[in-house]
């Protein structure tokens, strides 16, 4: 790890900067925070990972970047995209930003593409809307784009329908559609969950390449830390809508400091550690409105102390670019037993 990568989220010039973002969603029992005081930043040409279990607020965080939250949601904090405060924009201004500045690839490639509209139309449509290019120009750009995401015979693919492609190909096409209006930030929500492992690797390589070649800022959302290790340079681990730990991926995976990060890693199968049992995290994440006092993770934490049940931990820098929301820091000394032979 070089110092400048570690400090990159303290640099104010980040392309997308989310600061103390909270999102409260209306439920029957009143408003509850699905995202609570989350901050992160991502710069052009960088892949940021956001990890966490289902219900940890990853997707709501992503949707808040687009201003497409469920009806009645309350947002506080700031989301700045290249200096523009997104939380203050009108619906119309947001529409101009969506797709053009920031685009999303969704989880399931089987349903993300329209089944009865040709691929070419889906690609050129947003291009023409946002960029105002001619039909012929859009067509040739679309073919180039399919080439970029490695779809063989792009001309023919433009005339084909989503059903004629395999899952991995569809995800590539969905990425191409998201890139059609040349956004600067791409959010990939569980981009590989519905795919085979071998296809996953291809998609991740593609995201990585797009990020480097086009100077795209990529946010990858996943519950699979294995996916992160290959692509994301920095990683945010979320739990119950809060940031548990954030820092350089290599650091977090090698020497996790938050018990939750550690738990996620222990639950991951490792090809080298044959025979070693996987350690699950006991219990399940709290549902909206039932987040416990103090540290939200303490009921499931192996290292919980009495103070954890009352004091809400704030993310504090423990190293340059490394935030940790766990004051007892039980893993500070036990620097990864995993690495020990």
């Amino acid at each position: 790890m070089t110092p400048d990568t570690a400090t990159s989220d303290t640099v104010t010039g980040a392309l997308l900067r989310v600061d103390r973002l909270s999102v409260a969603l209306p439920t029957r029992s009143g408003y509850h925070k699905a995202v609570d005081d989350v901050s992160f930043a991502v710069d052009a040409g960088e892949v940021l990972g956001i990890a966490g279990e289902s219900g940890s607020g990853k997707t709501i965080t992503a949707l808040s970047l687009f201003g497409l939250l469920p009806h009645g949601a309350r947002v506080t904090g700031s989301i700045r995209l290249d200096g523009t405060e997104l939380t203050e924009l009108t619906t119309k201004q947001l529409r101009a930003i969506r797709g053009r500045q920031i685009a999303m690839v969704s989880q399931d490639p089987a349903t993300a593409l329209h089944p009865i509209v040709p691929i070419g139309t889906q690609l050129t449509e947003h291009m023409r809307h946002h960029l105002g290019v001619s039909k012929a120009e859009a067509r040739s750009r679309a073919a180039d784009l399919l080439q970029t995401v490695r779809i063989p015979d792009p001309e023919r693919a433009l005339r084909s329908y989503a059903g004629q492609f395999s899952g991995g190909m569809r995800q590539r096409i969905a990425i191409a559609v998201a890139l059609a209006a040349e956004p600067r930030v791409l959010v990939a929500d569980e981009p590989t969950t519905a795919l085979d492992v071998t296809v996953q690797a291809g998609i991740l390589r593609l995201l990585d390449r797009l990020c480097r070649d086009r100077g795209l800022a990529v946010i990858v959302i996943t519950h699979d830390l294995g996916v992160m290790s290959a692509t994301a340079r920095r990683l945010c681990v979320m739990y119950a809508g809060r940031l548990a730990e954030a820092g350089p991926t290599s650091e977090l995976l090698a020497r996790p400091r938050h018990p939750y990060t550690r738990g996620l890693l222990d639950a991951l199968p490792h090809p080298e550690a044959t025979g070693a049992p996987l350690v699950p995290i006991g219990g399940s994440p709290p549902s909206l409105g039932r987040v416990p006092d103090g540290c939200p993770f303490h009921p499931r934490c192996r290292y919980a102390q009495p103070s954890c049940a009352t004091n809400r931990p704030e993310p504090e820098p423990i190293a340059p670019g490394h935030l940790l929301a766990c004051p007892p820091d039980p893993l500070r000394a036990a620097v990864s037993e995993r690495e020990a032979p």
Binding site: R95, A96, I97, R98, G99, M104, S106, P115
Partner: protein, 307 residues
């Protein structure tokens, strides 16, 4: 065939005789080779009949032997070489009048259905996509129309607006738009939550744009099928209004009005029979075409209906 060692001791399942296998295959092949929907005999008949009527409507002045409005012949003469369909109570040539009638019924039937389709689809799309208050208001309006038997409401509207062909057309449109609204609304509701619609919104599409680019292709097929099946109804309804004196006014040569005239001269069967047959053939032909279109565009219902 040998049973390998270690195979289960159960007797091998009886193989179907080669004959039945062949028969099964034969049937499958026949079904696969069934002519496409647009080439089935009924569809062909429908297209041929409508085409013939279209030619008649366009070239009526050239084909018709006499002026349809000229009252110059023997009153109520039976069919003869000079007057194939006979003459009516005012001494007009029924054959010429039937031919000219096509110029009213065919285009109006099509225009009616297209207008009802456009109005109904737009309202249904808006109701389905925006939901809430808009949806409630529009759908209760549709329910209001559905609550009456179509012909009764059409009668009331036509009578209120005054007996005139234009008003009869308006009346038919008013009673036929709700079925399109219902259909489109349900299609929109099912498509609205689809991932690709969400994806479109994430890429910056506005509500109207999503309706037109993402949802319209899904709705086009079923709506076209409904429209094709509806032309027959529209023609019947319009002729019915004219029959009751609320549509085309004399001396216009309109089939419904001519049938009404026939009922006044019941013993002279040719006055009412021939325009009635004209209505029958047109409605039947449109229904054949509608069926074929449904088979073509909506394979799911088509299969369900064939079972």
């Amino acid at each position: 065939m040998t049973i390998p060692a270690g195979a289960p001791l159960d007797p091998p399942p009886a193989l179907p005789s080669s004959g039945s296998v062949e028969r099964r295959w034969g049937r499958r092949r026949r079904r696969a080779a069934a002519p496409p929907a647009w080439r089935r005999p009924l569809a062909l008949i429908g297209v041929a009949v409508i085409a013939a009527w279209a030619v008649i409507a366009i070239f009526a002045p050239l084909i018709a032997p006499y002026n349809p409005l000229a009252q110059q012949f023997t009153i109520l003469a039976p069919p003869s070489a000079a007057h194939w369909f006979g003459t009516d109570e005012l001494g007009r040539d029924v054959f010429s009048r039937v031919l000219y009638g096509a110029r009213i019924t065919l285009p109006l039937g099509v225009i009616l259905v297209i207008s009802a389709m456009i109005i109904g689809s737009l309202l249904g799309g808006v109701a389905g996509y925006f939901g809430g208050w808009t949806d409630n208001a529009l759908m209760r309006l549709a329910d209001l129309v559905f609550a009456f038997p179509g012909i009764i409401l059409a009668l009331a509207i036509a009578a209120a607006l005054g007996p005139q062909l234009r008003n009869a057309v308006i009346a038919v449109i008013v009673v036929s738009w709700p079925s399109y609204s219902r259909l489109v609304r349900s299609l929109v509701l099912s498509a609205r939550s689809a991932q690709y619609v969400v994806a479109s919104r994430l890429l910056g599409a506005s509500g109207p744009r999503i309706l037109f680019t993402d949802i319209r292709p899904n709705a086009a097929g079923p709506v076209l099928v409904l429209a094709a099946l509806d032309i027959g109804n529209a023609v019947l309804l319009l002729s019915g209004l004219s029959f009751l004196g609320l549509g085309a006014q004399p001396p216009t040569a309109e089939w419904g009005a001519m049938v009404a005239e026939g009922t006044l001269n019941f013993n002279d069967w040719w006055v009412g029979l021939f325009p009635g047959l004209a209505i029958l053939t047109v409605v039947l032909a449109f229904n054949f075409i509608g069926d074929a279109l449904r088979d073509l565009l909506d394979p799911r219902t088509a299969r369900a209906m064939r079972l």
